[in-house]
């Protein structure tokens, strides 16, 4: 088997399986088993891709339709995109597992699993593509399926949340389209590698700066970064649990991926100004998200604000831009995906036991008395988010802070270091509400709720990665070494 097909498979398997799954709509169990099998297959394919790329030591490129690089669309699996693809597929498979054991009405809809697979396609494709316009197409696929999955939510405000999400993402996509148009006018190409080469050779065209700003806006909206976050907390309050567990953990990583690519491939010369912006929005986001999470009335909303804060840490690391800081950003992003998905699933599982499904603290106070396992997992996940050993969150935070000391950026370091304490405050506030407070007499919780297998697996994985962190740290450091030498990426895509 030629190895370059490995880049294609994670993007090809889910949509094909989704089309077949629509045909299987009248057989619920067959459809679920088929779609879950496809999800696992595509996860195995992306892991194989990562393994092959790492052991070969050079990027794998698939030229669609055999059109040579700057003219056709290339799918590029270098270490960064392969790592991100594996992370996404892992959490997507976890979300799918949760959906299988979920008691929501909406997972019974015949289009739920096909849409979930299309979400996987859009996300993985956006990470693996090497073409700016193709990124737009995949990002749209992602937003369409995400919004449709939210609009069918059991929550009566699902449509409102989906409308806000879709509308704002659509405006962001318009910005991306404008950016790709501007870059095409300036350089006559949309291939990322070709663009990188040409921007480095001649950064003078007047439309480069607007394109850069529009790309930053696009990735900030995708990543729900502080000034463009407003759709996110509302969205998470109303979306179905398996959907927002995926959206809050890995879909926001599209923004992180975009910033990593922008600062190390596309705009290497201009990276300093992008980094300066990222440090500021990151540090502000850490505080804004942390304090927002402390002040919420709803467990899911709290975790959504917490995502804003945690992404702030990653953005500050990208903003420092040293090799150690970038490695810390990748490790932190990986950990945050696992932990945040697990925490949202646990909150959703508790909410599914409430008499009327909701995650508002007023309604779920004391519900945890019947769910000791979920309590243990929630406590572990919260410790991971706050960066307490033995979970992998500690490794990420340690790398982040030591890179800050190394970069001698003491002011942002002090700002985000203090904000780390806020994480503990909101996590334990939620824990107290759900597991310590007594169950009110008149509340009759449902005897059955969503299964805990998916969050248990994710937390177990983060625990394992916290105790044996070496492979992930090595992978992140190798990825950063690749990112620091974009020449190998350019050579792999453009040939020569």
């Amino acid at each position: 088997m030629p190895t370059d097909i490995l880049v294609l498979l994670p993007v090809l398997v889910p949509p094909t399986a989704a089309a077949v799954a629509v045909l299987l709509r009248s057989h619920r169990r067959v459809q679920a088993a088929w779609a879950f099998g496809a999800m696992l297959t595509s996860f195995v394919c992306s892991s194989l891709l990562l393994w092959t790329v790492w052991s070969n030591g050079r990027p794998i490129v698939y030229q669609l339709g055999n059109w040579p690089a700057p003219f056709g669309i290339s799918l590029v699996g270098d270490l960064l995109s392969a790592t991100m693809a594996v992370m996404c597929q892992l959490v997507l498979a976890g979300g799918f597992l949760y959906a299988l054991g979920c008691r929501d009405q909406c997972v019974q809809y015949p289009a739920f699993y096909p849409l979930f697979l299309m979400l996987a396609t859009g996300l993985t494709g956006a990470m693996l593509t090497g073409d700016l316009f193709n990124l737009f197409v995949f990002a749209e696929l992602l937003v369409f399926s995400g919004a449709a999955l939210t609009a069918v939510s059991d929550d009566k405000f699902g449509t409102e949340a989906a409308y806000k999400y879709f509308y704002i993402s659509f405006v962001a996509s318009v910005a991306l389209l404008l950016a790709s148009g501007s870059l095409y006018v300036s350089y006559g190409t949309l291939n990322l590698a070709d663009l990188a080469q040409r921007i480095a050779a001649d950064p003078s065209p007047p439309l480069v700066l607007p394109a850069m700003v529009l790309l930053i806006i696009f990735f900030m909206v995708k990543g729900a970064v502080m000034p463009f976050h407003f759709w996110q907390p509302d969205f998470h309050t109303a979306a179905p649990t398996p959907v927002h567990a995926v959206l809050s953990s890995v879909v926001v990583k599209l923004g992180i991926y975009g910033f990593l690519r922008m600062t190390t491939l596309l705009f290497v010369e201009q990276a300093e100004s992008i980094r300066a912006v990222l440090v500021v929005v990151g540090a502000v986001g850490v505080w804004f998200g942390g304090l927002g999470a402390v002040g919420t009335y709803d467990a899911k909303r709290m975790l959504a604000y917490s995502t804003l804060g945690q992404l702030g840490f990653i953005l500050v690391a990208i903003g420092w831009g040293t090799p150690l800081a970038l490695a810390a950003a990748i490790v932190y992003a990986f950990n945050h995906s696992l932990l945040k998905a697990a925490m949202l699933m646990l909150a959703g599982s508790v909410a599914s036991r409430a008499p009327v499904k909701t995650a508002a603290f007023a309604a779920i106070t004391g519900l945890g008395k019947k769910l000791p396992l979920a309590g243990v997992l929630f406590l572990l996940g919260g410790m991971g988010l706050a960066g307490i050993p033995p979970l992998n969150g500690f490794v990420g935070k340690l790398m982040l802070f030591s890179s800050g000391v190394e970069a001698q950026a003491y002011l942002p370091l002090a700002a985000i270091g203090l904000a780390g304490i806020v994480t503990l405050v909101y996590v334990f506030r939620a824990f107290q509400h759900i597991w310590w407070a007594p169950l009110p007499e008149e509340v009759k919780p449902k005897p059955y709720g969503d299964r805990l297998i998916a969050p248990a697996l994710l937390i177990a994985l983060s625990l394992a990665l916290g105790i044996w962190a070496e492979p992930l740290v090595n992978l992140a450091q190798a990825t950063v070494a690749w990112m620091m030498t974009p020449e190998s990426y350019l050579r792999a895509v453009l040939g020569g």
Partner: protein, 110 residues
């Protein structure tokens, strides 16, 4: 011709942004569609002056750049799907909230 096209695109874009910022949800969706059409025009302008002959294999003279047209086609199809979806969700919202004022659609804010 360049200047005229640039002025037209900027006028369409400005109208679209103005409508996009209105409080009325229906107006803001119409504004979004105007903005996305302005951007399609911008993409068209990106390739409009790079040759006059259609890009057939046996064409004589400087061939036009077909890529912006392909980009516009894709963008049009995607935005059509997007507006179908936005409008369908807007319909559900207008039935549920009995209003098209964006300040009144606030079920999730406390």
């Amino acid at each position: 011709m360049d200047v005229l096209l640039a002025l037209t695109i900027s006028a369409v874009f400005a109208i679209g942004v103005f409508q996009l910022l209105r409080r009325n949800l229906i107006r803001s969706v119409i504004g979004l569609s105007i903005v996305s059409n302005a951007i399609n025009l911008f993409l068209l302008a990106a390739g409009a002056y790079r040759g006059e002959v259609a890009a057939y294999a046996n064409a004589v003279g400087q061939r036009s750049d077909a890529l912006p047209q392909a980009l516009i086609l894709t963008a049009i199809v995607i935005s059509m799907g997007g507006f179908a979806m936005v409008l369908s969700m807007l319909y559900v919202l207008s039935v549920r909230y009995k209003t098209s004022d964006s300040d009144e659609v606030k079920g999730l804010t406390h």
